[in-house]
């Protein structure tokens, strides 16, 4: 087991040696787990208290998910778990074992085709600084999965858990409506 963890550490992050050592103190929790991220199975060494945002960014190299507050306020870390939007800063990685996790990196097809939300956000110049954009994209994707033709007000409510300090809300909503085909 320790050898497996060590090899995972080598591939994952510099801090892993410390994490492996910490297992002695954390008892019986299985730390080497399988995650389904963007359709791929990823084996990763996860501390019991570790958040999904941390695992993705620091161990799986998926830095598209941003940490703006790390306390469930801003939505920059939004991703989908079984198609439902979640704040990954407030989700324990161990809680998503066996469930499909979709991050912003998983939207583009293998041949480079963008998700309609991504293309619409480009067309509407929705992002400004862009730090909140992955979260906005994921909330919009989640909305359109359950409501392919939202009203602008429904889109506003659905994205209201995503802050944008640049104040690009209007352009993001334009993007959602364009992706839904109700704006051209």
């Amino acid at each position: 087991m320790k050898a497996v963890i060590a090899s995972s550490v080598a591939a994952a992050s510099y801090g892993g040696l410390r994490l492996a050592h910490a297992q002695d103190r954390t008892g019986a929790v299985e730390r080497l787990i399988s995650l389904n991220v963007n359709g791929r199975t990823r084996r990763v060494d996860v501390l019991p208290q570790e958040t999904l945002a941390h695992t993705l960014r620091y161990k799986l190299g998926l830095t598209g998910t941003k940490i703006g507050c790390n306390r469930g306020e801003c939505g920059a870390c939004t991703l989908l778990i079984a198609d439902v939007p979640h704040y990954s800063c407030s989700t324990l990685t161990h809680s998503v074992k066996g469930r499909n996790v979709l991050t912003v990196e998983g939207l583009q097809t293998a041949d480079g085709r963008l998700h309609p939300v991504q293309q619409a956000f480009i067309d509407e110049l929705a992002p400004q600084c862009g730090f909140c954009t992955p979260g906005q994209v994921m909330s919009a994707v989640a909305l359109l999965k359950v409501n392919p033709s939202p009203t602008r007000e429904q889109a506003r409510q659905a994205l209201s858990g995503n802050l944008c300090r640049c104040g690009a809300y209007d352009h993001y909503l334009n993007g959602v409506m364009r992706a839904a085909g109700t704006r051209s």
Partner: protein
């Protein structure tokens, strides 16, 4: 309308794709082999002196790599904020840092280290410090004076009676340390038919950029590689070199994307330097990830105002005199300037015939303050509209008309020296906005519906929006590609890209054949202006223009040398240089670039002009021999203030039972010269509108006066506007008249876009409440309810940094 090929047309900035796919890299997304993680211990006291640091509990801690204290760093002259300190002047000021193999170990170490701090007196409200016997925020004094005659700390005190009089709304009689004036103020008030006098408060609040200011650094052969979050790019280099104690050539800044700045990341800042110094000590890469709470502490905030203003109006509404007094809440580290800038804004937006500004910048033990989107201009923008509207009511003038009577135009003179402006079309902006908004129609409609009441307001915003003297750099390579080197920072406005359209316009080339280089010193970037003060569009359009003009001159010379004749015989089009009158005699840009490489000298950058900045010199040296180089310093004529102007018209529906309001309509009009990038302009106007909505009713610092504790360090506590606080649609337009001192007529707009918004909202709230003037931002729902109920407010007059 112009017939430009690129200017005024939308395009897709190359970084947008990365933003929607998650591939865009911000400072925290970079890693380096052997990188360790730093965390900072921050002061729990508003003001104190560190007497002992006890690290014994972590001496043997597994995974801890090192500790950095203020004693490891060069001293910093106050009031400049140090990287680490032994005399903290606000809660949250970093005292020491640790580095460890992961963040958990680093945080564990921080929790075990014991720092002993001797408390010192503190103040969280400037008037509490300004009053005789009141505490000073720093041992050096309670006021920082910045003036041409000399800058420094002072201790300034007013008598209790003077403070009480100020609080009661009377003209302050205490000492002012900054003062300027023009015209005959006494005559101006004597000529006035109506005089309005108000005291006011605009509470400071945090920048709260989405991206916490993480930085990562390492050293190689004496050069520091710094991955940071910066508004500016090339402009950061001299400051970083100074911060790191190295020559400019030994700083490489990588800042491909920046998650917002709004004035808080203009130049080198302490938390960017800290990992670099730590890396030097540890001899390994160090990343300092700043938490949201720490971003509140070290991420800067708007200067607060406690002020008094008296404005005189002639019968036709013309402003005859304005007398302004501002006590600035500087926090512990700022050096002032917002107050005087507010005065400057009054001088142009309302164009008083006579004016005086007086101010006292007072230090407080709150978070460090700095420039924030319209620093000074936007605080006073919030104050003035209700005064204008009160005068309009007394003079029986339409609020639109009183603004038009005083509107800035091309002959308006501004600020203390009453100098010229490059162009100003405020009246045209007001008329355009009034038409889009249907001002007259909305004015005549019923306002009351049960407990709901409609309010409408007009706001005006201003910021100087351009400077000169920076460098431009373009390059054409033998493969025919046109390389536009932009030293402009990428803070989310897309101006790093839109200004290069000026070069493409001059070079008459296809945009798809252009490559923008930015975001990394090693991309060979020219010396460029700061990305602040709304200067980029004007300033860097000029630099791109002069660099491209230099390239075109060289292209013609190469054609003459190669094909015969004189350079003047040639012109360029469609990425070719051709002989005028005989277009068949031509060379492609690709062929010209190849010839430039063969000819060398200035053509390929082996030599370059003497007057370009050393940052540009190094960029050219790095590119020499790779193609045709166009490089020049902007020495085009530039005289006068470059005014970026904006107006907003707002309609709100205010609920008298909850004190809350909905924004029913918002129209923002930009007066920013020629529109360069329509989508980008709309984004700035709308983003600025949202910022104004935050300032008007939501955002403020709150400090406990007993212990100096901040009450709102998170996003929602700070009151950052959300989707639900803002209208889902914001309408914008632009006057689109060119500025004569910008090659394609562009001026900046980022800051006026906000000022007009906060102004229109405060006016609309006042309008909804029969002209009641709160003279305070933010205007909270509680304040509105207290007013409607006829009860007292929860704060004493002029109290600040409170609920």
């Amino acid at each position: 309308m112009n017939d430009y090929r690129h200017i005024g047309k939308d395009f897709v900035p190359p970084d947008v794709l990365g933003k929607v796919t998650g591939k865009a890299r911000y400072a925290e997304d970079f890693r380096a082999d052997g990188m360790v993680y730093a965390r900072v211990y921050t002061s729990p006291m508003a003001h104190g002196r560190v007497t002992r640091i006890d690290t014994s509990a972590v001496d043997e801690m597994d995974g801890l790599v090192g500790i950095l204290t203020a004693d490891d760093l060069p001293p910093v002259e106050a009031p400049n904020a140090p990287m680490l300190t032994n005399t903290p002047v606000y809660i949250g000021e970093p005292i020491l840092a640790v580095a460890a193999v992961d963040e958990k170990v680093a945080e564990d170490a921080i929790s075990r280290i014991r720092v002993h701090i001797e408390p010192l007196p503190f103040a969280v409200d400037p008037l509490d410090s300004l009053v005789e016997g009141g505490p000073d925020a720093r041992e050096e004094g309670n006021v920082y004076v910045r003036s041409r005659e000399g800058s420094g700390f002072r201790t300034v005190k007013w008598t209790r009676e003077q403070i009480d009089e100020f609080r009661s709304g009377k003209e302050p009689t205490g000492e002012a340390v900054n003062e300027w004036s023009y015209g005959d103020l006494e005559k101006g008030f004597a000529d006035a038919k109506v005089i309005i006098e108000e005291s006011f408060v605009t509470t400071g609040y945090a920048h709260m950029s989405m991206e916490p200011r993480t930085a990562m650094a390492y050293w190689q052969n004496g050069t520091c590689y710094l991955y940071g979050s910066a508004q500016s790019q090339s402009f950061m280099i001299p400051g970083l070199a100074s911060l790191l104690g190295v020559e400019q050539k030994n700083v490489i800044l990588v800042s491909e994307n920046t998650g917002g700045g709004f004035g808080s990341k203009i130049g080198a800042y302490p938390m960017m330097g800290l990992p670099a110094w730590f890396s030097k000590k540890l001899n390994r890469p160090v990343q300092l990830r700043i938490t949201r709470e720490q971003e509140y502490y070290v991420g800067s905030a708007r200067v607060g105002f406690q002020g008094w203003i008296k404005v005189g109006f002639a019968a036709d509404g013309r402003v005859t005199a304005a007398d302004l007094f501002i006590v600035e809440d500087l926090g512990p580290n700022a050096t002032g300037g917002d107050g005087s800038s507010a005065g400057g804004a009054v001088s142009i937006v309302y164009d008083p015939e006579s004016m005086r500004y007086r101010g006292v910048p007072v230090l407080t033990n709150t978070t460090p303050r700095g420039a924030q989107r319209g620093p000074g201009q936007n605080q006073i923008a919030a104050v003035m509209p209700a005064i204008m509207d009160k005068a309009a009511r007394q003079l029986n003038i339409d609020p639109l008309e009183i603004r038009k009577v005083n509107a800035a135009h091309n002959a308006t003179t501004v600020e203390e020296d009453q100098g010229p402006v490059t162009s100003a079309y405020m009246k045209e902006a007001l008329e355009m906005g009034a038409g889009m908004f249907d001002w007259q129609g909305k004015r005549s409609r019923p306002r009351r519906n049960g407990n709901k009441v409609i309010g409408i307001g007009i706001g005006q915003g201003y910021h100087s929006a351009g400077t000169s003297g920076f460098d431009g750099l373009v390059r054409i390579t033998p493969d025919g590609k046109i390389h536009l080197h932009s030293g402009v920072g990428n803070l989310g406005t897309y101006s790093y890209a839109s200004v290069t359209r000026s070069a493409a316009e001059v070079l008459k080339c296809d945009w798809n054949n252009c490559v923008i280089h930015h975001g990394n010193t090693e991309a060979h970037l020219p010396w460029s202006s700061y990305q602040a003060g709304s200067v980029t569009s004007f300033t860097q359009s000029r630099t791109n223009y002069v660099a491209a003009m230099d390239a075109v001159s060289k292209i013609r010379e190469i054609a003459a040398t190669t094909l015969g004749g004189a350079a003047a015989d040639y012109d360029v089009a469609d990425e070719k240089v051709f002989r005028i009158g005989n277009p068949a005699q031509s060379m492609t840009y690709a062929a010209v670039a190849q010839r430039a490489v063969e000819m060398g000298g200035p053509y390929s950058g082996e030599t370059f002009p003497d007057d370009i900045h050393e940052v540009t010199q190094r960029a050219v040296q790095g590119l020499a021999g790779t193609g045709l180089i166009g490089v020049a310093r902007d020495t085009l004529d530039q005289e006068g203030v470059v005014p970026g102007l904006a107006v907003a018209f707002v309609e709100i529906e205010l609920d008298l039972e909850t004190g809350k309001y909905d924004i029913l309509d918002y129209v923002g009009i930009a007066e920013c010269g020629t529109v360069v990038h329509p989508q980008g302009l709309a984004a700035q106007m709308k983003g600025g509108a949202v910022w104004g909505m935050g300032m008007a009713s939501l955002e403020r610092h709150v400090y406990d006066p007993q212990n100096g504790l901040p009450a709102n360090v998170g996003y929602h506590q700070c009151g950052i506007p959300t989707y639900l606080d803002t209208p889902s649609e914001i309408r914008t337009g632009a006057v689109n008249l060119p500025d004569p001192q910008s090659p394609f007529g562009a001026k900046g707009i980022g800051e006026p876009a906000m000022g007009c918004s906060v102004a229109a909202l405060t006016a609309a709230i006042s309008d909804a409440l029969d002209g009641h003037i709160f003279s305070r931002t933010p205007i909270s729902a509680d304040m509105i309810l207290n007013h409607v109920a006829g009860g007292p407010q929860s704060f004493k007059p002029l109290q600040t940094n409170t609920y």
